[in-house]
């Protein structure tokens, strides 16, 4: 299998879908001659031209609305929002329009549209450019929200999203655009609504999505060295949410930690925690724990930013506290607090 970066995997999916279906077009800021603000659309303008790679002015509500209106007439727009932060000026088009059309009009219209946008924190991008509020969107019926954590899923889920007949928010992540991984050639499709278990374990389940999954896997590796077996459930899709896979894992490990980059209060992890508590009440050896970004606006100075972001140390510490709470550490399986 060829190795591609996350970015290249996305580009491959876009290109293949544009070749496959003439109603697929890309619209967004700097997606054409500039070759994409993060180079995901590189080469597409040269190959497909200005009709299918539409270079939009800075008018997110306007071109998001164009996406919705054109999808109502049968096109399949892939709307790129430069980063998740800027979707806020277009949020009325996403929540009040894209998500509502099918239901509000009694199933007579549809919006087969994809909104691609990178979220995530870091690189001293500060308060207005370093955020993760995918939970707001996953809260809304009528939308689907997916958030791949690796190149293969990036390709497979983007293809599914483009072919889906409902609006899909496709959340990318700035930190992992350069991450490499094996990506199946050709028409590789990952179904929406199916979580993955990239690491199998028996002592603790970590539930995560997007970049948090990359961190969770690193922390699991560290625990392995200490003789503790961590299972990682990568949600991949936030709405629909594959609770079956989560619950199956928790029934096996009896311990669960939810990790996300965003603020945990009212967040993705809050939802997982509520559902796991209900489904696995009697099987839990410790209360469900959550760890996420500090609930502050992202600060600039490096030490402050480090303190605000979720990182491997915090995930490790939170996981240890779950293990300790369940009595596992006391039983002498692990005592060193590294």
């Amino acid at each position: 299998m060829p190795e591609l970066t996350y970015r290249e995997a996305l580009r491959q999916a876009l290109r293949e879908e544009m070749l496959r279906d003439p109603s697929v077009y890309v619209i967004g800021e700097e997606v054409g001659r500039f070759e994409g603000p993060y180079k995901v659309t590189q080469g597409l303008f040269k190959e497909f031209g200005p009709r299918r790679v539409k270079e939009a002015p800075i008018a997110e509500e306007g071109f998001m609305g164009i996406g919705v209106g054109s999808a109502m007439l049968g096109l399949r727009p892939v709307v790129e929002i430069m980063t998740l932060n800027f979707i806020l000026v277009a949020i009325d088009m996403v929540i009040n329009h894209a998500a509502k059309v099918r239901y509000m009009f009694g199933g007579q219209l549809k919006v087969p549209m994809v909104i691609r946008t990178p979220g995530g924190s870091g690189k001293q991008l500060t308060a207005q450019h370093s955020q993760s509020f995918e939970g707001w969107f996953a809260n809304t019926p009528g939308l689907k929200v997916v958030a791949p954590s690796n190149p293969a899923d990036a390709k497979g889920l983007l293809k599914s999203a483009i072919r889906d007949d409902d609006p899909v928010l496709f959340l990318e992540n700035l930190t992992i655009y350069n991450q490499r991984g094996e990506v199946p050639d050709g028409d590789y499709v990952v179904p929406i609504g199916l979580a993955a278990v990239p690491r199998v374990g028996t002592d603790l389940t970590i539930v995560s999505h997007s970049y948090a999954t990359v961190r969770a896997l690193q922390v699991a590796e560290r625990f392995a060295e200490e003789g503790i077996s961590v299972e990682v459930v990568d949600l991949r899709s936030l709405r629909p949410l594959d609770m079956e896979t989560v619950v199956k894992s928790v029934r096996k490990t009896h311990r669960v930690l939810c990790v996300e980059e965003g603020w945990p209060t009212y967040g993705v992890s809050a939802e997982i925690a509520a559902r796991v508590s209900k489904a696995c009440f009697a099987e839990l050896d410790a209360p469900v724990e959550r760890v996420g970004g500090a609930e502050v606006s992202m600060p600039y100075a490096r030490p402050l930013e480090n303190a605000a972001q979720v990182n491997n140390e915090k995930i490790y510490a939170a996981a240890r506290s779950v293990l300790a709470e369940s009595g596992m550490l006391k039983r002498g399986i692990l005592t060193a607090n590294r």
């Binding site: 509500e61 164009i66 109502m72 239901y103 009694g106 009528g142 609504g193 619950v247 559902r275 796991v276």
Partner: protein, 363 residues
């Protein structure tokens, strides 16, 4: 207080007698439909917000009545007249107001969210000005696929101050999209007058900032509205030139049925506009031309009366939507299986997307 723009002399177009009668009937139908709607609302058969087109019939008939089967229409929440003007069934419109399964949106939309996909009326939208980018998107789709036709987008005077208006007009202009924007200027957005809300109360001038043909027309004169609309539609269709048309009109009722419409505007202003009732004006024109006489007017009224009564009877007799279909239409049924793994730990009473109970394992 606004004054009416110097009325354009109604051009003596080659409008056929048949077309004149069609427009007249359309206006009478909208008026009577809305009067009966108001009455049904006060009888509690209609809920929610309910905005009427009474007083605006010439603007509605002159603009919407000019669309052809290739064109598309988007509008706001004051949409009963729009749905009738595209030729929609008064039965389906009234049934929607009554919240019935037989309504235009199967009882999911209500007064503000009418639609008629077959006749290219794509809503019925409730967020002021937001239909403008959607309409531009529809025009984008026509252009993308090289289809004939144009998109018409109607909105109120208050919509010109929201960002969506400016973003939408700019995008239509830079991409040469076939879209005609129509401001139904009834002088107020709820209780806020155009002068209070807009630094430039000549709203048509806003289009000049986007270098598009822009004009104001007497919205009480259906033939003047029709002439301007047809000219601008032709520009849009044939030259991919978007345009802005402002129709000066007045709503005789309050903002919605719940608003008496008196506290923010003087009675003499209401009276003055009543003297320019668009239906009376048009009727006079047609009588002078010998196209209508007493018998013809009476026949139209009787026909419309029966039609609206039939719509009410139909709506009353129609079935309510079934609560077991609550979860229908959230997502495409083909994609419903994507949600089948969501049941574990779901909130109390939450059903699967297929509308079945998770607890029974019938996802």
């Amino acid at each position: 207080m606004s004054t009416i723009a110097p009325s354009r002399t109604t051009p003596d177009l080659h409008v056929s007698d048949e077309e004149l009668r069609r427009l007249y009937r359309m206006m009478v139908q909208i008026r009577r439909f809305e009067e009966r709607t108001e009455e049904q609302y006060t009888r509690d058969r209609i809920g929610g917000y309910c905005h009427l087109n009474i007083g605006e019939e010439a603007t509605v008939a002159g603009t919407v009545g000019s669309l052809t089967s290739d064109d598309y229409l988007f509008g706001g929440y004051r949409d009963h007249g729009l749905s009738l003007a595209v030729g929609g069934s008064p039965r389906a419109v009234m049934a929607e107001l009554f919240g019935k399964e037989t309504g235009q949106a199967h009882g999911r939309g209500g007064s503000m969210h009418l639609l008629d996909v077959k006749r290219h009326f794509l809503g019925g939208w409730g967020i002021v000005g937001a239909q403008i980018p959607l309409a531009v998107g529809a025009a984008f789709a026509l252009d993308y696929e090289g289809r004939p036709g144009a998109v018409m987008c109607l909105f109120g005077d208050a919509a010109v101050n929201i960002g969506a208006f400016h973003e939408g007009l700019n995008l239509a202009a830079i991409w040469n999209l076939p879209c005609v924007f129509v401001i139904t200027n009834n002088l107020y957005g709820m209780g806020t007058s155009v002068e209070m809300a807009s630094a430039e109360p000549d709203l048509w001038k806003r289009g000049q900032a986007y270098r598009m043909p822009s004009e104001r027309v007497d919205g009480q004169d259906v033939l003047a509205v029709r002439e301007a609309t047809q000219r601008l539609l032709r520009l849009a269709r044939e030259e991919r030139q978007p345009a802005l048309l402002e129709c000066l009109t007045y709503r005789y009722r309050g903002h919605s049925v719940a608003d008496p419409g008196k506290s923010y505007r003087p009675q003499e202003e209401i009276d003055r506009w009543r003297d320019r009732d668009p239906i009376v004006l048009f009727e006079q024109t047609l009588r002078t031309r010998g196209i209508l006489d007493d018998a013809a007017v009476e026949a139209v009224r009787a026909e419309v009366e029966a039609e609206v009564q039939d719509a009410i009877d139909y709506a009353l007799a129609s079935p309510d939507p079934d609560p077991k279909d609550l979860y229908l239409h959230i997502y495409d049924p083909k994609g419903a299986s994507d949600f089948d793994r969501m049941g574990e730990g779901a909130p109390f009473g939450e059903l699967s997307i297929r509308g079945t109970n998770w607890a029974n394992g019938e996802a």
